[in-house]
Symmetry: C2
Subunit: 143 residues, 2 copies
Amino acid sequence: MTDDNFDLGQFLPYALNQAAEAASMGFQKHYRQRYGMLRTEWRVLFHLGRYGSMTAKSICERASMHKTKVSRAVGALEQKRFLVREEQENDRRLETLSLTRQGSAAYADLYKSAKVFDASLSAHFSAQERDVLNRCLEKIAKL
Amino acid sequence: MTDDNFDLGQFLPYALNQAAEAASMGFQKHYRQRYGMLRTEWRVLFHLGRYGSMTAKSICERASMHKTKVSRAVGALEQKRFLVREEQENDRRLETLSLTRQGSAAYADLYKSAKVFDASLSAHFSAQERDVLNRCLEKIAKL
DNA sequence: AAATATTAGTTTGAAATGTAACTAACAACC
DNA sequence: GGTTGTTAGTTACATTTCAAACTAATATTT
């Protein structure tokens, strides 16, 4: 943001939101049309699909999602028969969440769409740009 | 996203959202604490402050915000006495929105905060990175 | 072991958002 | 000049989110 050329489009929180919004919308139709999922559900599905069974708490931490969001997303995915819960014996507050066969299939399918979609976005950038972009986003997310 | 190292953190829609969320949260307290504004209101305020009086329609287009969001944000800013509406004579469907003295003051104040905040984010990146980041975000937002 | 504090997760009521229908003004067409 | 179509903006309702209170289980303190 150079000094008095202040432009909203260059203010990071704004620019990030505009880009995130556009990208999200683009990907939304895949999980929404095909599986009637919400963004929160898609995220939970991906965490379980990619990183394996874990508790809701772990998903909260990994995805920086609030526990109420996760709770609802888990409920919705359970209703869709995409995951099951299993109480842990040593600590009955904890539930291990695991994808069902159906859930894994949905994950595999959406995973493929994600790669295609991501590739179509990446096509607009050089490898270096893509690299810088990734590193910057990661850094910002951790602030 | 290199082939079978698929990592959620590198999937653009996800990474963008995480970063956008983090950045937004960081800036939120300024407009929220000091003026009780929402993100939509802040955006409208900034558009008027930076680019001058205009109709709600123009804000919709410039900010890619849906008209109901803009309508509500305008209503809220009006209640806070940050803007006034003026019906256009040649077309009475259109209202020119303009910041009041109070609104301009709020804008000036938040504008300063925005610059400081943006600078604090930018500090983590080189000028080149920052440049790549801006260009990429802009491109994605336009897809 | 009783009392207190934490922790995982859910529920609830309020605020915000999205979608679609609506109103009022203008435009175009016959 | 009346009918039809568009456009700017608002309203209403349904869905989603946010914050805070809640439940049930485990940990800690005394």
